[in-house]
Chain length 228, copies 4
Amino acid sequence: MSRGQQGRTSVTLPPKQRARSAADKQQRRAQILATALAMWDDHSFASFAMAEVAARSGLAKGTLYLYFQTKEELLLALLEGLLVGWFDALDAGLAEAGPWDVERVASLLCAVLDERHALTRLLPLAATIFEHNIPLESARAYKELLLDRSARSAAGLERCLPFLAPGEGLWLLLQLYALIVGLGQMADPAPMARQLLDEERLSPLRVAFGPAFRRCITTLLYGMQAGK
Amino acid sequence: MSRGQQGRTSVTLPPKQRARSAADKQQRRAQILATALAMWDDHSFASFAMAEVAARSGLAKGTLYLYFQTKEELLLALLEGLLVGWFDALDAGLAEAGPWDVERVASLLCAVLDERHALTRLLPLAATIFEHNIPLESARAYKELLLDRSARSAAGLERCLPFLAPGEGLWLLLQLYALIVGLGQMADPAPMARQLLDEERLSPLRVAFGPAFRRCITTLLYGMQAGK
Amino acid sequence: MSRGQQGRTSVTLPPKQRARSAADKQQRRAQILATALAMWDDHSFASFAMAEVAARSGLAKGTLYLYFQTKEELLLALLEGLLVGWFDALDAGLAEAGPWDVERVASLLCAVLDERHALTRLLPLAATIFEHNIPLESARAYKELLLDRSARSAAGLERCLPFLAPGEGLWLLLQLYALIVGLGQMADPAPMARQLLDEERLSPLRVAFGPAFRRCITTLLYGMQAGK
Amino acid sequence: MSRGQQGRTSVTLPPKQRARSAADKQQRRAQILATALAMWDDHSFASFAMAEVAARSGLAKGTLYLYFQTKEELLLALLEGLLVGWFDALDAGLAEAGPWDVERVASLLCAVLDERHALTRLLPLAATIFEHNIPLESARAYKELLLDRSARSAAGLERCLPFLAPGEGLWLLLQLYALIVGLGQMADPAPMARQLLDEERLSPLRVAFGPAFRRCITTLLYGMQAGK
DNA sequence: AATGAATGAGGATTCATTCAT
DNA sequence: TATGAATGAATCCTCATTCAT
């Protein structure tokens, strides 16, 4: 009988307790990712330190390396988790009954991202991650996940927005990725940049992610519709 | 006869030769930036090492610091130079006589960026630079440059595209920045990512910057036009 | 049988062997300090390099930073250790039964310092250390240690030398610190200075720390006694 | 006719003007030393930068090296100047008619130092200077100066204080050097140390140079007198 | 004599990763 | 499985000094 079945009601495996069963290990992995997610809010890739992940997880540094081969693999796993959540929410939304118009789709796309602020900071990181040392297999798994889920959601979009030609759903998603990355970066400035933007003179450069994202999406959708 | 009187036609000041006049110094500075620009193609912010800039420039490490106080200041200067060139070309294009339609503006915007591939990799770096140690004044100078030139070009855009309401020119430019950053990141993958995208199965994720950028711009412009 | 059970009699932990227990770590720390102490003999603050400490300790540079946050903290720890030893010896000496006269106290003070030659070179360093980057807390801890131990020893001195008024014990110690620093500097010249002092003509400038210190102390004590 | 005789009333040679005559050169040297003296107040040996001396002098860095072979030689020259002034003042004071008692001599010694605060910060530096690269001849010149002037002043002291045995004058001076160094260091703490000493708890460690120096001298002199 | 651009050795510190326990 | 001490490569930046002009 595994420890996991001994009536332990807590969902979380106490740190420093050995994860013996596969389920325990999965849980530990998830805990590490949860810690990393929380940390990510106030860290850049460079300042995101494995030592701090370990400390915040209540684990030793070496233990992290039992679950993730490198720092990059850990961050990639984090990104995957967020993306899956995002796709799930999007697909669920698109599965609802119509009628769909541009505004409703825009609302859905914004709502789905709204709860996933970390994604806007993590998605641009993907490029940085891939510049570094990650196992080819992890990289391929990520790309395949991205493609498969994109294809599925693209189909949903094409279903809800009849003016989209075949293939335009995927193209729309690619544009969204670009906007998430680009607007995310502008809307989330480093402390010094934020300080500068607080100056009245520079205020026109301020960008609020939510409204800007919505405005972009809407414009894009109307543009695609008009293109017919 | 001094070197200065030899009608030196060469544009490049030989390394290790003292840059005495203001012009010489400007030239040396430009050389360093040119070296940095070339290096930037295969380096991330973290791997971009001052030692390598020096070595590639044929200069000593310390010499770099005569021209740029920090690594960040060097990279910010690089970005500024590219941006200024981009704005100049854009403004020059917009100054030509009309008639302007969406397609012509899109063509201009693409053409202007086409020769400035490095910009798509450097613009997203700005966020990283600002996270690090640069003098507040350098940061402010950059932001003000960005704002001033954006405002000027925005006016040009509003002149050429009558359907743009006041303020929409700047908004359009902000969208462009986001797209440059976002699409740039997707179109310029790290070596490992590129290798993966070469696999047939993942080919739908391939993005060619030029066409994608043009398609986005066109869609956005039609969308803004339709919004009237 | 683990290393820990082998009745390890050696006082020194072999370099590169992991210091696992708290005792091991304390020992490693002490080893580093011992290395630093030996090095200090032929180094100034500026030339005292962490790389050399590491090399001489048979450890990696990074390892030093597991035990001391900065170079300054290491040197401050070295100074603290020497001071504590000095105070301990002084207090032990003063605890012995009297009768105490000036000569006996002078003898004690000299004897106590005699075995701690490094102190005369390290005490003046304190000023330099404090000019640099150390945590405020480390600095305060040092100052409080110095004050507490000084106060305790001052009490001992006042007990043994009845002609000392309350407060004069501490004042005497402050004078001693000044003499240790000042005479220490004169008695321990740099190689070039030593070479010069070897010249017959300059011999009057030679100072032997021990006798000079004793002569100063004696004079001071007689002076304080006469002041009554 | 040298430029120096052309009725130039200013005592100072304008920076960047060539020093042609020997007198001009001497003047330029003196200017550099004056600048260095002013700088020394807020600099340690390490932070005392030749570049700043040059800038403050209105000269180029290279020019300094026409007058002083190394940074250390410059500082040694500065120390020599201060010492000579100190000895001059001391000898002048001792030349006045008696009667001399301990208090009057102490007053003289304090007064003579009082105007030369920089000396208390520079004298301890001598050791550091000699640890570095200075020409042997400069070093010997300094030592001989120190010895000669010490001998002369020692004679003056022995004349004024009849209880001093032959040789005790020089010994007294050596003690003074030690006290200047030692007390100087305690009385002139680095900013962080000063901040700590401002805390009430650590106030007993505060030392005011003037009173402390006087008290020490007095005690020493009474001690030497009593030793008869 | 004056300049100041160029030099380049040198040092502190960080942190992902390993591996002995 | 968990640990965490040890590693060591890697990087930015300083500054006394030189030397071509």
